[in-house]
């Protein structure tokens, strides 16, 4: 089965260039650390952070958090979705459910409190239809690049998603 018209043209194209809607901030770093009981002094002890990382930084694995919008914001009429290409594919392919099956993140410059990060998404591939225990659908790979306000790359992320229709039970 081939891909719907227009979809192949999306592959390899940078989309959804955007700046995070809020700066990297301490409170959310502590919320994240608390959720996994991460006591790394880099995130709790200013002296340790000054000594090792020239000041406070965010946990590297939080990089995508800075682009997940608040659930509500004044004046917003439609919920913003992170990883929009993923949701575009669900809609374009008529696949109501989706899960992430694989995720790779490469970390570069540390993310620091106050940073305003920028990102864009690139669809790398969409598979032929496949059937798994979840249902029938397609796998896709989306790359996300993150840079800080100085233009330094802070991370690249690659997601493999599986959009599907549930198997009949």
């Amino acid at each position: 089965m081939s891909l719907p018209a227009g979809l192949p043209e999306m592959v390899g194209v940078a989309q959804y260039e955007e700046e995070g809607e809020f700066p990297v901030e301490q409170g959310y770093i502590w919320t994240s650390c608390a959720s996994v009981e991460n006591g790394n002094p880099l995130f709790w002890d200013d002296e340790a952070a000054a000594e090792l990382t020239d000041g406070p930084i965010a946990p590297p694995t939080m990089v995508s958090v800075w682009f997940r919008p608040h659930h509500w914001a004044p004046g917003r009429t439609q919920a913003r979705l992170p990883l929009q290409v993923h949701f575009d594919l669900k809609e374009r392919l008529g696949l109501p459910e989706a899960v992430m099956t694989e995720n790779t993140v490469v970390f570069y410059e540390p993310v620091r409190i106050g940073d305003r990060l920028r990102t864009h998404q690139v669809l790398r591939s969409v598979s032929e239809e496949k059937t798994t225990k979840l249902g029938t659908g397609r796998f896709w790979v989306i790359d996300v690049e993150y840079r800080n306000q100085h233009g330094d790359r802070v991370a690249t992320e690659s997601y493999t998603g599986f959009g599907y229709r549930r198997a009949e039970r």
Partner: protein, 160 residues
């Protein structure tokens, strides 16, 4: 602070095991993890939605929070001098309230790159009752000696 590195490259060998981390997962664990990663999708906080729409038995840990668990697991072991370079993980099954998750890891390789940075390759697994739920590979830099600090590396000196 002013303490030296907890773990030096030379003290680690291929095949070394990381200490096991066990954590009882509750609904709070799942919801807190989703909130902490700003993931508002209902399968991470609404059991009815998870069961009826996703076909799972309950709400389940989200992907970004699992990354945070792996980071905590690795840097608990390396200490704060440990700097993540790369993490890959593959979700094979879901982790639900009532599960006791175990994070286990083993050193797959030890190396020094062309710019003198010390690297450990780790194979890590998040498992429940011995069943693999998420498998991962982590590339983490650790000091090669007492004076080294991977966080000081910039630009071409950092090759994750």
């Amino acid at each position: 602070m002013t303490t030296g590195p907890r773990l030096l490259l030379g003290s680690v060998a291929k095949g070394d095991a990381l200490p096991v981390l066990r954590h009882p997962v509750t609904a709070t664990t799942v919801v807190l993890g989703a909130l902490a990663s700003r993931d508002w999708r209902p399968m991470h906080h609404d059991k009815d939605f998870a069961v009826e729409r996703n076909g799972t038995r309950d709400i389940f840990l989200n992907t970004p929070n699992q990354a945070a668990w792996f980071e905590r697991y690795v840097t608990d072991w390396t200490g704060p001098h440990g700097r993540l370079g790369r993490i890959t993980f593959r979700m094979k099954g879901s982790v639900f309230p009532g599960d006791t998750m175990e994070l286990v890891g083993v050193v797959d390789h030890v190396a020094v790159d062309e710019v003198g940075c010390g690297w450990l390759g780790l194979e890590v697994v998040l498992q429940v009752d011995g069943e693999m739920k998420t498998t991962g590979a982590v590339r983490v830099a650790v000091p090669v000696d007492e004076t080294d600090n991977p966080w000081r590396r910039r630009a071409e000196q950092w090759q994750p």
